[in-house]
Subunit: 527 residues, 2 copies
């Protein structure tokens, strides 16, 4: 369908609906809305899907995801395979994530720095496990201009090695500790085969924290402090509930003593690792010679932690909250929290509505709400509704002549579609209340989904059936032997996502080998 | 000298001075200060230079610069040649620059985005001049993991090509214009031979704006708007006066229609390009096929602008304002504007001073001043004075028991060394007043330096003599022929830095060829 044709149809749809609404008043609104959303659309031979996402979330999750990411203006594919562009709307979400983390880490004594993007091969090799873990996906720089380099340089896949080279120079005494630095940068990991915007790319934006401590216990505390910070971000801002726990030896960060993780369930029942916080022990301080003169006047190897979250959190927002109409953003992370759409049918009405809309915009703006007034003349209200729904703006305020005469506006929630009539003098309070409610409801809804998709298995048969039927997390008992973990992955595709911090009593033997189990763990098929 | 020995000497120096000061009172302060700064130091066989910069700015500018950069904690060398680490203190300055620009560009409708770090060779080659200009310094990625890539990828030396590949997809109609995006990233340009932290590195942080417009005039306006923004940043925040003008064809950005520039003079008389803003004309929109359907319903190639400033501004701060004691920061760009140093000789005094210092800190903090209370117990006040002077903190407040009894504190300016006694009840007002004055005085001082280092030449002999004697800018008349420009560069090392926007009447013929001159231009030897 040509964009002109869609435009005309949309105009017809949107305007019929809106004209009707402004004529008959609030009493019949719900009925008209139904017509607008289904029958009228069908009669005119179009659906909102033509100008939006063309597949259903419940039917083709992966295609639906990619369409939402690109059509909502979060990201676009770039020229080289596996690389994406973070578009302005997506970048605004990243800025909000960045601001939250940046403020919190600065309050706890951390500071930002920048380290080189290229790492000499010899340095990357210093911690052997770490190197082996990353080498299959390293982009190698071999030439500068016309000349060949004496030593290859790796486009950083992560910065441990280049950072710890400097730390070894900087740290002399216990008085230099803790050293608490964070980097905002991008890292490169060649993903030549399967790619997925935000989730699996050859380059992604992230932050990586690298801290140095006197003792293992200090590093433990850092790991947990950051884990809590991430939890506040992900649950409090992104409205995504997480399972918090430890990774198994198999799944931990290459080079870490242990890894703590936050895991969430996406809309298709697959798990996504949302962030990790590692105690590196002395695994890097020994090869990199990061030593300090202790309070005991003896030399010690330092203890280290590292931690990070990436732009995959934006992907998680889409996969957890999105629906068939597109993105649904929790108000606390939404770059635009409220969009005002004016509705009018004559020039006289346009002027009146425009004046009121600007007034409302200023009022909401001065209440520190992020508000956009969509005064574009080339689009009909119906078109605008679809566009802002696609972009997931939490609250839409419609300003029409009939409502204005009654001293009212209509507020429509993106998440539920629910429409409320609000007295204009109560607008700020009501808008704030609605936004709070949306934030809370989205979290509760996601939590219910998580609970419904957390199943308990007592046998391997149980386990496979649950995984097959519904996906999500399967809680099961495990003997802590890696061979069982490996076999389960080979046979079912599920991995142990986390060993939860608060352990329940095992209710069965190891689901795989039948030997005594000492841990209850969360399995899932994951991204 | 061992660090312990320096510590003891400094302790001796600092404490003698401070004890004396607190005993004899304000009347003899100036005299004691003199002793502290020269005689006493010599008697004890040390000077502040041992723990600070070991060369004089006036004697070894380049070595002095590198020492200030590293000893003030702005940057450190990393492992690969030409790469530096932007350390937390330097990063804080970059954050201030970033905040200023980010706020201003968002107010004028620009938004941030992120584009890939690697650019396929074929894409980089699309604009031939542009490619030729950058190819000698491109880092090439040839392998991913074990495999060789089918096409080499360039670590971005600048993002025009990768950005415009997307713009061609995104822009359809005049309604999509202007498209105003900005990127905060790092770019890589191999500097294998001469490197200088912040000024000439293989990688640097910067911002690059890329905008698309309907007409040449719109692009012209964007170029000037950004030029003014940069001027406000550099003159208003960094207190560095600039010459604003156009680059010659020889010196313009490769691929631009024309380049506007801001040029400053460093402490050694050499010029530094502080920022540039380019009108790209249709030089990229034609090869990249960035077309739009105009208001006239015809298809047009778009007009483009690009603009950027980098972390070299931090280098400029050092080279313009620094002195033999280290960095001197203008208050508006200083991460720490005020440092409070407690002075005491007994535990009783320590408690009293500590309580008052914290009170003062809270008071200054709540007045939105950025203040640090240096309560470290392992260092003497003298040591702290030197350290904060090295770091260029604009104002030091000394809190000692004698002053406190009189309801006073001492404020010392970093730029002039001037010390003032301030009533504690007037502290916030006085501190603000002093900071404003420091900001203003630094700019005036730099402006006088610029004026004193701007000479006028009427002949080539004049020109060479002026360049030899004093350096700085040489204003001279030029015939607009590139051959004269080339020859002057070959023979003297000076290039045309800018053709100033407001042209004076030429007062001589072309200084090189003697033919009629139609332009007055600024020459200089530059970094």
């Amino acid at each position: 369908m040509s964009s002109l044709m869609i435009h005309c149809l949309n105009l017809a749809c949107g305007d019929l609906y809106l004209a009707a609404q402004q004529i008959v008043g609030p009493k019949f609104r719900k009925k008209i809305l139904l017509i607008h959303n289904s029958k009228l659309g069908k009669v005119l031979g179009m659906s909102t899907k033509d100008i939006g996402v063309t597949v259903r979330r419940s039917e083709e999750f992966s295609e639906w995801y990619t369409q939402v990411v690109t059509k909502a203006g979060l990201a676009d594919y770039s020229v080289a395979k596996g690389f994406i562009v973070l578009m302005p709307y997506g970048y605004s979400i990243w800025e909000k994530i960045r601001e939250f983390i940046d403020k919190r880490i600065k309050e706890t004594g951390h500071r930002n720095a920048y380290f080189p993007a290229l790492i000499p091969e010899g340095l990357l090799k210093k911690e052997a496990d770490h190197f082996q873990g990353f080498v299959p996906e390293v982009f190698w720089v071999t030439h500068a201009g016309e000349g060949e380099l004496g030593e290859r340089l790796a486009a950083r896949p992560t910065s441990e090695t280049i950072v710890y080279y400097s730390y070894a120079k900087w740290i002399k005494s216990w008085r230099d500790l803790p050293l608490l630095l964070n980097l905002w940068n991008s890292v490169l990991r060649a993903e030549i085969t399967a790619t997925k915007p935000f989730i699996r790319n050859s380059e992604f934006l992230w932050q990586e924290g690298h801290t140095v401590h006197e003792t293992k216990e200090d590093a433990d505390r850092e790991v947990m402090m950051i884990l809590n910070l991430y939890r506040d971000l992900i649950e409090g801002m992104l409205a995504i509930p997480v399972i918090v726990g430890k990774k198994t030896e198999r799944e931990k960060f290459v080079g870490a003593l242990y890894t703590m993780t936050l895991e969430a369930i996406m809309g298709d029942g697959r798990a996504l690792q949302m962030g990790t916080s590692h105690n590196l022990g002395q695994n890097f301080s020994i090869p990199f010679q990061i030593k300090y003169l202790g309070r005991d006047e003896m030399e010690h190897y330092a203890w280290q932690a590292s931690w990070g979250v990436s732009w995959r959190l934006i992907g998680a927002l889409v996969m957890v909250h999105g629906d068939d109409k597109g993105l649904v953003l929790p108000p606390k992370i939404a770059p635009i929290q409220i969009v005002i759409v004016p509705i009018f049918f004559s020039e006289e009405e346009r002027k009146m509505v425009d004046a009121k809309a600007r007034e409302i915009q200023a009022e909401l703006d001065s209440a520190a709400l992020s508000v956009e007034y969509d005064s574009r003349e080339q689009f009909t209200p119906g078109w605008k509704f679809n566009e802002w729904e696609m972009k997931g703006v939490p609250l839409r305020i419609e300003v029409g002549p009939r409502d204005l005469k009654a001293g009212e506006v209509v507020a429509a929630r993106r998440d539920t579609g629910e429409r409320t009539t609000i007295k204009t003098e109560e607008l700020v309070t009501e808008a704030q209340r609605l936004l709070d409610r949306i934030q809370n409801d989205l979290f509760q809804k996601a939590r219910r989904f998580l609970e419904e998709h957390t199943q308990k298995a007592s046998s391997y048969e149980d386990f496979k059936q649950a995984l097959q039927a519904k996906g999500g997390f399967i809680k099961a008992c495990w003997c802590s032997v890696q061979e069982c973990e490996d076999r389960i992955k080979e046979e079912t595709g599920a991995t142990i996502r986390a060993i939860p911090l608060e352990q329940e009593q095992a209710w069965s033997t190891c689901i795989y080998c039948g030997k005594p189990a000492d841990k209850v763990v969360y399995f899932a098929r994951a991204y």
